[in-house]
Symmetry: C2
Subunit: 285 residues, 2 copies
């Protein structure tokens, strides 16, 4: 592994919103080389035209042989497939990372077949957009975002530090190391549950054509992420379903409690819940 600065060869796998944004942000750091792999030749052409990759490839056979750092910006199942198919193509000592929103099952699966001379480090930039594809990619998605890294005992400390450095250099505000298990538990509450709520709210009543007239900010805010990439989020939900179901059920108990307080005109209970929610929410920026 080349040390210091960005004197190494980077390969980004999957030139969509996230992969394209990595390419844009990393290209500016002048790495030795930056190449892209995508099954879609149009995305490769687009990335070449944008000047954010040096070369594009539709598979990993040739380019992975020289890659020091491989960033896989695919959906979870496809990350595993990509590594399996290319298991003999990686350079010895290469650092492989990903960008997806679930970690424990993914990392266990990959580590079960990864040779000792390859290091897979789970990464999750808390950045995204409602749209997809390289055309909406932007280096700015990382600005002020948090970047979660989920190292395991198998990982080489130096390689973890490389991913930390990369996260900061592309603009992330804060980099946090946490176990894959803890990541998945917390994320099921802080990210997956709000998505479940947003789609459930959109689904829960007929929307009159001019409903917008009757919405202040609260409805729009609560449903912003109801514009959802259904392929990606079904997969993320299924792969973290134990945690997510537990969080949904806690939320169901909570809303049932609020409902009962309203039905019974139990002002005392309702005010306790409101005041506690207010205090908790004010602590967040």
């Amino acid at each position: 592994m080349a040390e210091g600065g960005f004197n190494f060869n980077i390969v980004i796998v999957g030139l969509g919103l996230i992969g394209g944004s990595y390419a844009m942000a990393l290209k500016r750091l002048n790495p030795s080389s930056i190449c892209g792999i995508d099954v879609d030749e149009n995305s490769l052409k687009e990335a070449l035209n944008m000047g954010i990759i040096d070369q594009g490839f539709t598979d990993g056979k040739e380019v992975l042989k020289n890659a020091d750092l491989v960033i896989i910006a695919l959906y979870p199942e496809k990350i595993i497939n990509f590594i399996k198919i290319n298991i003999d193509n990686f350079k010895k000592g290469a650092v492989i990372t990903d960008t997806c929103g679930i970690k424990e099952g993914l990392i266990d699966n990959i580590n079960s077949f990864l040779p000792d001379d390859l290091d897979f480090i789970g990464g999750h930039p808390m950045a995204g957009r409602e749209s997809k594809g390289i055309k909406v990619a932007s280096k700015d998605i990382f600005n002020n975002a948090n970047y979660i890294i989920t190292p395991t005992e198998r990982n080489c400390k130096e390689n973890v530090m490389l991913i930390e450095k990369m996260a900061k250099d592309i603009g992330c505000k804060k980099v946090i190391n946490i176990s894959p298990k803890e990541h998945d538990r917390i994320i099921s509450f802080t990210s997956q549950l709000p998505h479940v709520i947003a789609v459930s709210l959109m689904d829960s009543d007929l929307i009159e054509s001019d409903i917008e007239t009757f919405t202040g900010g609260s409805f729009k805010d609560a449903t912003r992420v109801a514009v959802i990439n259904s392929e990606l989020w079904s997969e993320l939900f299924f792969l973290n379903s134990d945690n997510l179901i537990a969080e949904i059920e806690k939320f169901q108990k909570s809303i049932e409690k609020v409902k009962n307080a309203i039905m019974l005109e139990d002002k005392c209970t309702l005010k306790d819940i409101f005041e506690s929610a207010t205090v908790k929410r004010k602590k967040m920026v």
Copy 2:
């Protein structure tokens, strides 16, 4: 009732966030006079210092006698009490309006004792802030907001048009007339339910001290209105509980459906819900 322009005497009752904001926005239109009533003398002093009222009063005895337009920016129960107490103080032909978030029960109650020579017209500016009090008042809260008016057969058309004109002149984007009953039904879905969800979400799990590190925009957006005025919103929920309970229960069915699809790994159902939610949400700006 004085016609045209703003050649009439305005009284604003309750100089909090909303009442104070009305005073600021209306003062700029140069009405014949604009006075404030508030039980809190500090709020009156503040409004006088800000130059947004001509005179302040702690009750309505004197000032209501000359008031052509009375805007009551109090909580629902206090609106009714204020009108009852001052029933003999209003000028004949005065137009009385309010600003609160529920309508049917309030208007029925007021109309049951209001003399024929007074006209109460329900109004609901879709504007608010998480904070309260005159110090956070701003004429800008009306900018691009929608303003709902809920006329009944009892209302004089000319007076309804006056409230419409006022709403536009203080900066509202769109003014909508709708029945009190329909208002309460729609608002229970578009405004009250998102507030119930926000507080329930804050209440539903232990919040680790550094949870903010793990939140992208979705959690913050979904809980923005969890910073809630507990006195006001308990009252609004109780006074619209039939509609609100019905909406909570529809939402509960909806989230149960999503939960079951996740448990059963029923990708087909989940994708249908996601895609429908995406289409509906994209229609909103």
